[in-house]
């Protein structure tokens, strides 16, 4: 139980990731796959945040007096996550756009039927 208590955020992050991976790998619907992609990214973002997080930490603002540098939350992961989210948005937007086009061509979103390119 103690393990669970200390690592619940990691479990959450990886849980999200695995759900996402499962969706990408197994779901037939393209939109669901894209959502799965979102899940994966979210999980990773969560993971990144957790890495830099310190319990009861403060914001890393050095100009403000009275804040203990040792208890500051690492700002780098947050910067990373911000970048990652931006990238993620771009990818998802592109993916959805492509999905719409694909629907226009195939009249379906079932990836098992979208197999014009193979072998």
């Amino acid at each position: 139980m103690d393990f669970l208590y200390h690592n619940i955020h990691f479990i959450g992050a990886f849980g999200l990731m695995f759900i996402g991976l499962y969706m990408i790998a197994v779901k037939k619907n393209l939109i669901k796959k894209i959502i799965g992609l979102g899940f994966v990214e979210t999980g990773i973002n969560l993971f990144l945040i957790i890495i830099g997080y310190i319990k009861n930490g403060t914001a890393p603002i050095f100009s403000k007096a009275g804040l203990d540098p040792a208890r500051m939350v690492d700002p780098v992961p947050q910067a990373l996550v911000l970048t990652a989210i931006v990238i993620n948005v771009a990818i998802l937007a592109l993916a959805l756009g492509l999905a719409i086009r694909l629907y226009g061509h195939y009249k379906t979103l079932n990836v098992e039927k979208i197999r014009g390119l193979k072998w």
């Binding site: 894209i34 990773i44 592109l94």
Partner: protein, 494 residues
């Protein structure tokens, strides 16, 4: 370190990036101007890279952004490898851009050129950066623009290929990000030199998992065997200019990323043996899949896959000779495959079909293009006097030099794959020259389409006859690429 502003390697990234953002704006003013912007940017990059080359050969240049010293800020590591890649990128970019003047006419032209520049920016960024997260960002720039460019034609195949590419590619990127997370968790830094310096202090499974994640993530772009399913689709469905860029540059960048991470961060370990095997498997699978293809661009795409396997094998031999051979093979493949895709682009454009049978007798209808295509093919098979021969020779030499039985077996397999490659490529040559054409009329090729192809062909022959041109650069690059300690030393000064 940098004497004048115009010699600053940062410009290699900044100029194309800036031009990319300006492109749509200029497009608003005059649409015709747009297509010359990439040429401008790449010309600049090429000149600058060539100018920097002799300098970095002696000692690599470190550029720290915003004045901070390396561990604390994003830094660029402008070594011979980076400049070599940068030259390749700008050369192929330039030639493809010239080719694109007459080739890209339909659709959102200014967006095409913007994405094109972004793609090249991303590629240049990856090879120059010294920061792992920065590498990821540039990688994403490269990937996203290539997803979009694959779908540029907006036809059924293009969209489908782009979607598949996107899903696999973004999964790969996610893995990379996860790997970066692991590394950051372990070391608390993102500077590659810094991580490399401390990596021996940590012995954790997370380290290995991070490595596996990096290999898998970059491997999707680098087309390692089970991760390369997107490649034949994307390369065959994209516009031929983009196929040339993807095949000539993008996948090599993936390989560069893998091996930069492996060499610099993780150092040499047993994973290289696995990678060598995987490389040969990739080679075999690629060539075998290409064997029965009836679609010319798919043949070339599968062949790219095979070549990737060869390069991975060469780089995983783990000696300076091997790396030098691998880099040589990268040059070979960049030149030859871009040449082939550009030639095929024109053939497909003229005959309106990608079937091999539609190439019947093209040797008579477009003699020059066919001749150059033949040169490219011979070079890829590794026949003298073309560039493919010295590169393949040095790979085999390096592999046999290790004296290990495993490498001997792998090289035998590699030669078998070469046989298969030879057979299907020679079959295409026969189709070009020794089948009766359906029609007799000859095609008139515009100069802008012909010029890049001729340049590539000349380079292939010239280096093939006198490989000494490149040898010094390659050896020096290989040494620096390989040597982890000197990398750290150079980055931290002293």
């Amino acid at each position: 370190m940098v004497s004048t502003v115009w010699q600053n390697p940062v410009l290699l990234i900044v100029v194309p990036l800036g031009l990319a953002f300006f492109t749509p704006i200029i497009g608003l003013i005059r649409k015709e101007l747009v297509k010359y912007i990439p040429i401008l940017g790449m010309l600049f990059n090429l000149t600058l890279s060539l100018f920097l080359l002799p300098k970095v050969l002696d000692n690599p240049i470190i550029v720290s952004l915003s004045g901070w010293k390396p561990p604390f800020a994003i830094n660029l590591f402008v070594g011979p490898v980076g400049i070599l890649f940068s030259i390749l990128i700008s050369l192929v970019g330039l030639l493809t851009a010239i080719y694109g003047i007459n080739y890209i006419k339909k659709g959102a032209v200014e967006k095409y050129h913007m994405l094109f520049l972004l793609l090249l920016t991303g590629a240049t960024g990856i090879v120059l950066t010294g920061d792992i997260f920065n590498l990821f960002v540039f990688f994403e720039i490269l990937c996203i623009s290539s997803y979009a460019l694959v779908a540029y034609n907006q036809d059924k195949n293009g969209i489908e290929a782009a979607t598949k590419y996107l899903i696999q590619g973004s999964l790969g990127s996610a893995f990379i990000l996860l790997g970066i997370g692991f590394l950051y968790g372990l070391f608390g830094t993102l500077n590659m030199a810094d991580i490399a310096r401390n990596i021996t202090t940590v012995d954790s499974p997370a380290l290995f998992i991070a490595m596996a994640l990096f290999i898998t993530g970059f491997g999707v772009e680098a087309a390692i065997f089970p991760l390369n399913a997107w490649l034949p689709d994307a390369h065959s469905s994209a516009p031929s200019t983009i196929s040339a860029i993807l095949s000539g540059i993008a996948i090599h960048i993936g390989i560069y990323a893998i091996f930069r991470v492996l060499y610099t961060l993780f150092g040499f370990n047993s994973i290289f043996t696995v990678l060598a095997v995987i490389g040969i498997v990739t080679l075999l699978i690629g060539e075998m899949s290409a064997f029965r293809q009836e679609n010319i661009k798919r043949v070339l795409a599968y062949s790219s896959m095979g070549q990737m396997g060869l390069i991975i094998f060469a780089l995983s031999i783990g000696t300076v000779d091997g790396i030098s051979g691998g880099l040589f093979q990268i040059i070979t493949h960049t030149l030859s495959k871009s040449l082939l895709f550009l030639c095929v682009g024109y053939m497909v454009y003229s005959t309106n079909s990608m079937e091999l049978s539609s190439l019947n007798g093209l040797g008579k209808r477009m003699p020059l293009i066919s001749l150059l295509f033949t040169i490219g093919v011979f070079s890829l098979i590794g026949l003298p006097p073309f560039i493919g021969f010295p590169s393949k020779l040095s790979i085999i030499l390096a592999g046999l030099k290790t004296g290990e039985t495993l490498f001997l077996i792998l090289i035998v397999l590699m030669l078998l794959a070469t046989v298969i490659e030879g057979v299907y490529f020679f079959r295409i040559i026969q189709i070009l020259y020794f089948k009766e054409p359906d029609k007799e009329e000859r095609f008139k090729t515009p100069f802008t389409l012909l010029f890049p192809v001729i340049i590539l062909g000349l380079l292939i022959v010239a280096i093939g006859i006198y490989p000494g041109l490149l040898q010094e650069i390659l050896d020096r690059s290989a040494e620096i690429f390989w040597d982890k300690l000197s990398y750290i030393k150079i980055v931290f000064g002293g």
